[in-house]
Symmetry: C2
Subunit: 146 residues, 2 copies
Amino acid sequence: MPNNQFKKGELYSFITGKASIAIARRLQKKFNTAGLNLTIEQWSVLYHLWKEDGKSQQELCNATFRDKPSITRLVDNLEKLQLVKRVASESDRRINRIYLTKLAQKLQEQTMGLAEETLNEALGGVPADKIDVCKSVLQIVYDNLK
Amino acid sequence: MPNNQFKKGELYSFITGKASIAIARRLQKKFNTAGLNLTIEQWSVLYHLWKEDGKSQQELCNATFRDKPSITRLVDNLEKLQLVKRVASESDRRINRIYLTKLAQKLQEQTMGLAEETLNEALGGVPADKIDVCKSVLQIVYDNLK
DNA sequence: TTCATATAGTTGTTTAACTAACTATATGCC
DNA sequence: GGCATATAGTTAGTTAAACAACTATATGAA
């Protein structure tokens, strides 16, 4: 039988993800205040390239949980900002590998610092063990649905 | 001192809210499969009107955590779909009160059923006490940042 | 080798979010 | 009453997401 943990009044905020929206907005504000002309979505692509430069667009789709048109356009805008460049693969000409520019490499330390700052603000007053439980629940939700 | 619960590898998924995005996508698919021509964002407005019909646009902003232009356009589109209508307030002519049509009233039971179904799928295998911890953490995050 | 199929990426269209700038109405102080 | 200020809502411009349809390249079987 279905578990009825969710009554109507609580259902909405789980679906809309208010907490993560609030985190993203706070981080965006920090970027703006710091004079960084960068959206959170653009940052999320750079984030995965900092972990491993030269990912293909398809790999960025998987990593960022976005579809191909979304990545095409994010990479378009990142190229306009001179933060990445597309390089066609030699071995498989269907593939674009995306490489960070020096400008983007310089952004890593500053933006990751702002991101950590944001999370510390968000999680102020929450004990570490509860954060762990929360993370594990969200991971299961993601795995259940993907 | 700052809590360093977040190492780089875990930071991203908290900011991007993959779990809630996955829930919203699943619910949207259910709407589409059921032949409902309705976005999750439009549904989220109806949701708050089902709780209390005749809210003003500003009240919908607060309830849905959106800004005024977003609500203006969502109400525009809901009016085009014949699901709500704007009624100028008699006592304060700046205010529009938004009322559900009969068509929208009919959608409540079906869509709330699909939403509950979605959450049950998302939370399958998660014990109730962990869900409670997760909800409370997300609430604190939201309160910390708003 | 050739043709069907799969994969990588792009383009067009609609909906939505954020910011900034705007109009209209209400409130409150002088 | 009149004017400054606040509040409710709209409009314009940019970025992004979902979906469908498309091009180009690679793979694999006959």
